[in-house]
Symmetry: C2
Subunit: 406 residues, 2 copies
C-alpha cells in the first residue's frame, strides 16, 4: 500500500520549495553560458596553500578532537579569534554573546526559528536578501517591504509601516537589513539612516537583525559603523548580528556566527543543539587559521583589489552599452559581490532570463528578492565570479537581448 505523504507534512513546509535561485541555476549547464547568476566568490582568492598547511597543523595537533564531537557554541579557540576579528570593527563582546554557526544560512534559520510564528511580520527592504526570505519562510511569516533608496532603507516609509502595524496590533518581530553592499542591490545604508533605524528600533521596541556577509569587502568609500556598534554606543541591546566567512574565505568551510544579547544567543545555541549538534571542528580550525595564521588584512586587501577591478569593468561596460536614454539604470556599489540593474517597467526579467540563456548569459530575475509583491523589471548581477574579460562580453550579450525590448 502506498502512502499519501503530502497530507502528513506540517503546514509550514508542505509547499516549501527552498531557494528559487537554485531552480534558476539548473538551466545553466551549457559551459558557454557566462553566469552572473550565482553568488560565488572567486576561487582566484581562495587561500589553497593556507588550507593545506592549516590542515596539516590541525591534524598534527588535534586529530582525535577533529574526529570527535565538539562544543555546541563553537570551539573556544575560534570563538576567541572571532571576538578579536570583531574588535577590529569596534564591536566588543564576550563569549556569551556569540554562537558559531554552520554558515550564514544556518544563522538566518536559527534567527527565524527563534522568533517567528506563522503570520508574524518581518519588516524588510524591497528588494531584500532571497536567502533570508527562504530561511524565515519556513516559519511562514508575512514580509512587509519598503522600497530601498540609494542611501539605504527608507526610514520614513518604515516608520509609517511601524505605525500602521502597531495600530493593527501586529508589530513586526524584527527589522531585517543587510546594511553593507546589500544582496541583491549592492546598496549601503548611510550612517544617518543606521542611527534612524536604531531610533525606530527603540521607539517601537522592535529588534534589528543586521546581516553582514560582505562588510569587509569594501572597494571604495569609508567604512560605516555597524548598527551593532551604534547600538552598543547608545547602551542598547536591540541588535542581532549575523555573519559568515563564506565570502571572505570560502563557502565550502560552512562557518559563520551570530552575535547578540546572551539570552538570544543561548537560546540559538539550544536550537542549534537540537538541530545539528556541533559545527565540525576541522571546518572551525580552518576558519581559525584563515583568521590568525595568515595575514588576514593582506588577504582582505587582495580580495578587495581583485573584486574592485571586476566591478569597475562591469560598470564601465554598462555605461558604454546603456546610455541614459535607454532607460536602463543600475546601482554603483562600494563593495560586496552584487549589483542591481533596473529595466523599463514593461520588460519582464523572468522572460528575459530564458532569452538571455539563448544568448549565453545568465542573471537572477529580480522577483526572487522580494518577501511580497515582487517587481519584475530588475536583474541581480554577480560580478565576483567570472573574469573581467567575460564580464565585458556578458554585458554585450545582455545588451543584445535587452535592446530588442526597449
Amino acid at each position: 500500500m502506498k502512502a499519501d505523504w503530502r497530507s502528513r507534512f506540517a503546514e509550514n513546509v508542505r509547499d516549501y520549495q527552498g531557494y528559487p535561485i537554485g531552480k534558476t541555476i539548473q538551466y545553466l549547464t551549457d559551459p558557454e553560458i557566462i553566469s552572473l547568476a550565482g553568488g560565488l566568490p572567486s576561487p582566484k582568492v581562495f587561500q589553497r596553500t593556507e588550507l593545506r598547511l592549516a590542515t596539516e597543523r590541525a591534524f598534527d595537533r588535534d586529530i582525535d578532537r577533529i574526529m570527535q564531537y565538539s562544543p555546541i557554541p563553537g570551539e573556544a579557540t575560534l570563538v576567541d579569534a572571532v571576538l578579536r576579528f570583531l574588535e577590529r570593527d569596534n564591536i566588543t563582546i564576550g563569549r556569551d554573546n556569540i554562537v558559531i554557526t554552520t554558515s550564514g544560512q544556518h544563522g538566518l534559520d536559527l534567527t527565524g526559528r527563534l522568533f517567528l510564528e506563522p503570520d508574524d511580520v518581518v519588516l524588510v527592504d524591497r528588494p531584500t536578501f532571497a536567502g533570508a526570505v527562504v530561511a524565515f519562510g519556513m516559519q511562514r511569516p508575512r514580509f512587509i517591504g519598503v522600497n530601498i533608496e540609494d542611501d539605504g532603507s527608507d526610514v520614513i516609509g518604515m516608520r509609517q509601516q511601524l505605525e500602521r502595524l502597531g495600530r493593527k496590533g501586529t508589530p513586526p518581530k524584527f527589522i531585517y537589513v543587510v546594511p553593507d553592499f546589500q544582496n541583491p542591490s549592492g546598496i549601503t545604508i548611510s550612517i544617518a539612516k543606521r542611527e534612524a533605524l536604531l531610533d525606530l528600533s527603540y521607539e517601537f521596541d522592535v529588534p534589528i537583525v543586521e546581516d553582514s556577509p560582505y562588510r569587509d569587502l569594501r572597494y571604495s568609500g569609508e567604512t560605516i559603523p555597524a548598527i551593532f556598534t551604534l547600538d552598543q554606543r547608545r547602551d542598547g541591546d536591540h541588535v542581532i548580528g549575523l555573519y559568515t566567512f563564506s565570502k571572505l574565505f570560502c563557502p565550502g568551510m560552512r562557518v559563520g556566527f551570530n552575535i547578540g544579547p546572551p539570552e538570544v544567543v543561548t537560546r540559538m545555541t539550544h536550537i542549534k543543539e537540537g538541530n545539528i549538534l556541533n559545527t565540525p571542528k576541522w571546518n572551525q580550525d580552518m576558519c581559525l587559521a584563515f583568521l590568525e595564521d595568515m595575514d588576514l588584512e593582506q588577504h582582505l586587501e587582495n580580495c578587495r583589489s581583485y573584486y574592485r577591478e571586476k566591478l569597475d569593468v562591469f560598470l564601465e561596460t554598462m555605461a558604454e552599452y546603456f546610455p541614459p536614454e535607454t532607460g536602463v539604470s543600475w546601482t554603483r556599489p562600494e563593495g560586496g559581490l552584487f549589483l542591481w540593474v533596473s529595466l523599463p517597467p514593461h520588460i519582464d526579467t523572468d522572460e528575459l532570463f530564458f532569452e538571455a540563456i539563448e544568448h549565453k548569459v545568465a542573471f537572477v530575475p529580480g522577483e526572487q528578492f522580494y518577501g511580497e509583491n515582487p517587481e519584475h523589471n530588475h536583474m541581480r548581477i554577480n560580478f565576483s565570479f567570472v573574469s573581467k574579460e567575460q564580464l565585458a562580453i556578458a554585458v554585450g550579450r545582455l545588451a543584445d537581448c535587452i535592446k530588442k525590448r526597449l
Copy 2:
C-alpha cells in the same frame, strides 16, 4: 533601553533547552571521573591515517570544489557510495530516495520539521532516544510512549494506543523506533516485531521512522533485516530511514543521510536548503574515502571486536557485583554503544547521579530518555569510550553508591 527578549521568542522554542545530557556532562570536569555518560565512539577505532591520506588526495583532486558551495542533496560521488553501502544491507534505492545530512541529529530535525505541528502525536518506545525527543521537541509534539520489551517495541501496546488515538481523532504522525541496539536500552527489535510494526503501519496508515545509527555494530547474534527492507519486500513505502556515520567512522565528520520516498526526500532537501544549504564537501569526501578507499568490512570488524570485548567486561563485572538478589537488572545488547541498568523503584537515579560523581563515576539518569512521564530508577550506560580496565573500576564505584541504597 533594554529589550525584553523572551516575550518575543516563538512559542515552540521559548523554553527550549536542547539536550539535557549536555547539561549533565558539565559536571564531569574532574579528570578522575570515569564517565559512562557520553555517547562517544572510541578514538581507538578512528582511522586517522585514512583521514590524512584521503585529505591529501581530495585536495590534489578537488581543492577548489572543496572550498566552494556544493549540491544541497549531497555530492553525487558520496550519494552513489551510500547507495552501494545500503545494497550490502539489502536496501536498493535510487538517487531520488536519499538526502545527505550534516549528521544524524540533522536527519532527525529534518524529519521533525517536515511532519510535526504543535500537539501532533509521535508514538515511541519507553525509553526512547533522547536526541529524537530533543529534535522533534522543537515542534512541540506530544510523545506517547509504550514500554519496550526485551525483544523490542510492545506491538500489542502500540496497537492499543493506535486504536485509542484513532478514536480520539489524533492518530500519530509517525512511529519512531531505533530497531538495532536502541539508544538507550541496547534492545533490538525481533524480526517478528518488525513485521508486526509494519502491519500496524499499513493498517493504521502511520509511517515508521527507523533510526539506524548503530546497525553495523553487531557483536553477536544474526543481523535482522531493516524495517525499510521488509517494507520494500512488501511493496510498501511507509518507512523513512535515518542514518549517521558518526558511530561507524567518527562524529567529527558530521555526515549522515535520510532515505525514503522521493516526495519525502525532496521536501527534506528543500528544508535543508533553507536551513544550512549544503553539507561541506571535505566532510563528504572523508566519508566517501572511509566507505570506498579503505577496507570498510575490515574496519567494521575491528570496531566490533573492540567494542565486543568492552561489552563483555562490563557485563561480567556487573554480574559479579550485582547478584540477582540485589534487584538490579540490566540489558544484554547484541551491539551498539549503550545498555540500560534498572534499579529497584525506590532509587532515584537523578539523585544517585550526584552521589556517583562524588564516587568518581558518571552515567546518564534514565529519566532523560522519555518523551513523557519518565521513570526515575534507570541508568544509561555507555560502554564504548573508556578502557576495559576503567569499565571494571567504574562498575565497582557504581556498586559502592548503589548498594548503600538497596
